[in-house]
Amino acid sequence: MQTLFPWLILLLPLAAAALISLFTRPHRDLSARLSIGAIVAGFWLTLLLFALPGAAAQAYETRIPWLAAGGLQIDFGLRIDRLSLLMALVVTAVGGAIHIYSYEYMRGERRFSTYFACLSLFTFAMLGVVFAPNFVQMFFFWELVGVSSYLLIGFWFERPAAADAGLKAFLVNRVGDLGFLLGILLVWSRLGSVHFGELERRLAENPAALGAMATVAGLLIFCGALGKSAQFPLHIWLPDAMEGPTPVSALIHAATMVAAGVYMLARVFFLLAATPHWPAALHFLEGLDALEIIRIIGLFTALMAGLIALQQDDIKRVLAYSTLSQLGYMVMAIGLGQPGPAMFHLATHAGFKALLFLGAGAIILALHHEQDIWRMGGLRRAMPLTFWTFLIATLALCAVPPLGGFYSKESILAHAWHQDKLVFALAWCGSVLTALYMFRLVLVVFGGSPRRPRDAQPHEPSHIATWPMLFLAGLTVLAGGADVEGFLAGGAQGTASLASRLAGPLAHAPFVMLAGLAATGLGFAMAWGLYRGAYRDPLPARWSTLASALRQRLLLDAWYARWIGGSFEALACLASGVDRWIIAGAAVRGVHGSVELTGRLLRLAQTGKVSTYAFALGCGVAALLYWLIR
């Protein structure tokens, strides 16, 4: 059973995707049921694995030979340990809720079955990343996640913005993934294995095994997370990816895909924490270790995204930048050397951020695809259930006790306090920002009076959509009682009583806790002062430069479009220019000029291609010979 269950969890979504795309495409209901059934079954099986005596206690693997040729031997296996079980639970629980919600949200969609096939394919890929026991398999599923998210983000491909967003997400991720691939190759060539357990063992035996490339390898692998978890400077794809259907945003951008980067970092944490060492060429970086750089990038992303979120008007974009900011906190926790708190925050964040997205989806549906928060307002009375669940998730995000988000964030802040006061201070500022932009959202969307046409009568979605929201709200409330860190650390469960765990932050780090609460209070007070009953954003009037910079996302996107897109085109122009002008023009004309004099000048202007090519071929051979004989 211990080997059968993980295989079933992984393969059920694949089977669903295959069945839907091959057979049941015309039957909309059946397709959706297959897809939902697969992930819900996966959820129960994961729970059973937790409950099985001893299953969660010890890491084990099940594998079949996959690639064997010469010195290359890679198995296709599943690694089941506390980390992967926790992540699988998050994916199947949150993912399952989103699958069910999608059934309602996508009801009128023409390609309803295709949508569910894509969802199942995505779930399969994501679970593949979770259970992967080695780098090659992880990279495989990592890319499959990329491809299936491309399909989902670009699902409404008739809209150019959606198509562009899908492509952008895909391309930006590829950039990070190439670094990841190079890192894998580096680790493989140095340590002779790609298997996580084996790598950890070899590195423990000989901590200097990575040699001069230790830090470079760690940073290259971090590149993969940089793309998937949308950290600066590869963060630009995530806000655009909000063009996908809202449940997709909830699934990809809250619970699973973006969390994959953090999960991967936690999985290979032993590599990142290897003795820092730089190759001779990068000697000037000596003294900086990989974790430090990761910490800085995470912190920077958290602050930058928090700032940008302050001035976004699209409800989904506010949530997108909030996701970026929270991912920054997780990456920062990894950088602090604390994968436990990072995973804890990942788990709680998956729940409440998915809930926020589902609430946003309900509002968007109710208002007929209106996403501008300044045209909402006063929804508290029209949609009470959405309001309360949204509020719970907001409170969790702002770290209000006793919700799940409070414990995970306090844990990260406490570690920051112990290690680096400056990091703590900046992270604290991030907490103020979090509270400010979230309460701004709540006050503008739900508070005040309605700012929409009179005839529109928003109402709650049907039960199929509200149940998943209630389920996630329940998870968010209860998550505070879960001892995720202790579970990951492998300690026996249930040693600490529930009460002592709930009061934990007060006992361990009372100052940090109080500071955190003060940050939330400050943010709330600022939001209350600025946005209670506001009809439009007061900030642009007061600080116009700052506000417009934030509205334009600190100009980062424009800068990228200009420089990266531009440089690609410039290079291409250069290459064809070399072809057209230097070879065809200058060189050939020069030779001709000397061989055949003036009378042919006119004809030379029409110098065509064959002769150009022949001439270049001749030049190439001449250069080759010169190199040999010189």
Binding site: W66, L67, A68, A69, G70, L72, F139, F140, E143, L144, G146, V147, G154, F157, E158, P160, A163, G166, L167, F170, L171, R174, V175, L178, L181, L182, L185, L186, W188, S189, A281, F568, E569, L571, A572, C573, L574, A575, S576, D579, K609, V610, T612, Y613, A614, A616, L617, G618, C619, G620, V621, A623, L624, L625, W627, L628, I629
Partner: protein, 481 residues
């Protein structure tokens, strides 16, 4: 004389000649059957080639001809390529006024030339097999003699091909003068005496001649023009078959016959590889024509495969063989779609692919898969090939920093290539067609050939071990000192 060893080549040649003879008695409306017969015959020969085991190398014609694991690998690859190219030709030749059987026969002759090249162990056989391919391709490229682009491509291929042949044969003459022998790696053991200037210069000229076949810098200029102008099946055969034959010869010459010289030339080879990758990928970005884009990308792929040569190791050779097989599947699929998705006489513009997924979901999916595989995204076969090639270079980077640069250039090239490959995918699925066009009917033969390519792309990507093992065994037959 083990002439029996040459059975596969002889059979393909006989098939071609038989086809030409039978054509005389076949009424015009039954010409298609001849094509089917050719496909069947070639498939039979492919099946028959599995009767040969890849044991110890066997020689024929006094050591001119060698049948070892690598030769056998290449022969199977080329027979497979030939079957798919014939299927494409059968479909494509509907737009010719006449000459289906001739076109098929010429493809068979080109395939036999490639097969001879795979077994070449002597400069004479190398030259004759290369010329058999080249001269056949002159006709194949310019076969649509009523279309000016086809003729123009033919002339370009003719002039540049003949020039490259002249370099090749002059180089061989110099090598012969320096070593006093025409065989390049007899039973007595590999290696030419490569000390003298004559041999070194001669080998450089040979490199230029073979470089033309694989389309590497600085012999790459013909590729985009010829790919664009030639009939799609010809271009498919050029990309998948001719390039493979070039690499077979290059592996034999560089790794078996003249390893010392290859070591000396390593910096130049690295430069060529990097330049090919950059040139092909950068020039491909602004392209609008699908076949021209594939032409530029073929230059880049030649560069990637040269990465397997510059490491001068068996593992690199194995990676090249794997990559060639995967590349053949993907590029054949792409050209098959190019042959089917456009109307006769219509230029193969990428924007015209808009709405292809409505006109034929099968063709759209096939082209998308092929592009994704060419871009090297897992789990398709292109990923593993690039992975293996890069692994060799990264390993070597520990000894020499210049390999690090090469790896960086290769990665930059791969990133750049996403830009245009996904431009094609985007055009298929995500752009609005200018006008509604009728659905495309895909014939059974073409559909099956396309299916075979797709199975290759996906299966060898998800379960690479059989192909990898075959490539490793084949590379094991190389006599690297």
């Amino acid at each position: 004389m083990n002439a029996i060893l040459t059975m596969p080549e002889m059979a393909v040649t006989a098939l071609a000649l038989g086809l030409l003879v039978l054509d005389l008695w076949t009424p015009a409306d039954r010409k298609g059957d001849l094509g089917i017969a050719a496909i069947g015959g070639l498939a039979l020969i492919l099946a028959g080639s599995f009767l040969f085991g890849a044991g110890a190398p066997q020689y024929a014609f006094g050591g001119m001809y060698v049948l070892d694991g690598m030769a056998l690998f290449f022969k199977r690859l080329m027979l497979g390529v030939g079957v798919v190219a014939l299927a494409a030709a059968l479909e494509y030749s509907k737009r010719f006024a006449a000459g289906t059987a001739e076109y098929c026969a010429l493809i068979l002759l080109a395939v036999s030339g490639m097969m001879w090249a795979a077994s070449a162990n002597h400069w004479a056989l190398l030259f004759v097999s290369v010329e058999l391919m080249t001269v056949t391709f002159y006709v194949l490229v310019s076969f649509e003699r009523t279309r000016m682009p086809s003729l123009e491509a033919g002339v370009k291929y003719l002039i540049l091909g003949a020039l490259a042949s002249a370099f090749l044969v002059y180089g061989v003459a110099l090598v012969f003068g320096g070593t006093g022998t025409l065989g390049f790696a007899g039973d007595s053991g590999p290696g030419l005496g490569t000390g003298s200037v004559l041999v070194r210069v001669g080998l450089a000229l040979v490199l230029a001649g073979l470089g033309f076949k694989i389309g590497m810098v600085p012999c790459q200029f013909w590729a985009p023009d010829v790919y664009q102008g030639a009939p799609a099946p010809t271009a498919a055969l050029l990309a998948a078959g001719s390039k493979a034959a070039g690499f077979a010869l290059l592996l034999r010459v560089l790794l078996e016959a003249a390893p010392d010289w290859a070591l000396e030339m390593r910096p130049v080879l690295m430069l060529i590889a990097g330049a090919s990758i950059l040139y092909g990928n950068l020039c491909a970005i602004p392209q609008r024509n699908l076949k021209r884009l594939l032409g530029y990308s073929s230059i880049a792929h030649a560069g990637y495969m040269l990465l397997g040569i510059v490491v001068l190791e068996r593992a690199g050779a194995a990676a090249i063989l794997f990559y060639l097989a995967g590349y053949a599947c993907a590029v054949l699929a792409a050209f098959l779609v190019a042959a089917l998705a456009f109307d006769p006489g219509e230029p193969e513009e990428i924007p015209a692919l808009a709405g292809l997924h409505r006109r034929s979901p099968y063709l759209a999916a096939a082209l998308a898969l092929s592009m994704i595989s060419l871009a090297g995204i897992p789990p398709l076969v292109g990923f593993f090939g690039k992975f293996l090639l890069l692994k060799g270079v990264v390993l070597a980077a520990f000894d020499s920093r210049s390999f690090g640069w090469l790896a960086g250039v290769a990665l930059a090239g791969i990133v750049t290539s996403f830009y245009y490959y996904f431009g094609v995918v985007r055009a298929i699925y995500w752009s609005a067609p200018a006008a509604e066009r009728p659905p495309i009917a895909v014939s059974r033969v073409a559909g099956a050939a396309l299916g075979a390519c797709l199975v290759g792309i996906v299966a060898a990507g998800v379960f690479p071990s059989p192909l990898l093992e075959a490539a490793r065994l084949a590379a094991g037959a190389l006599r690297i000192p």
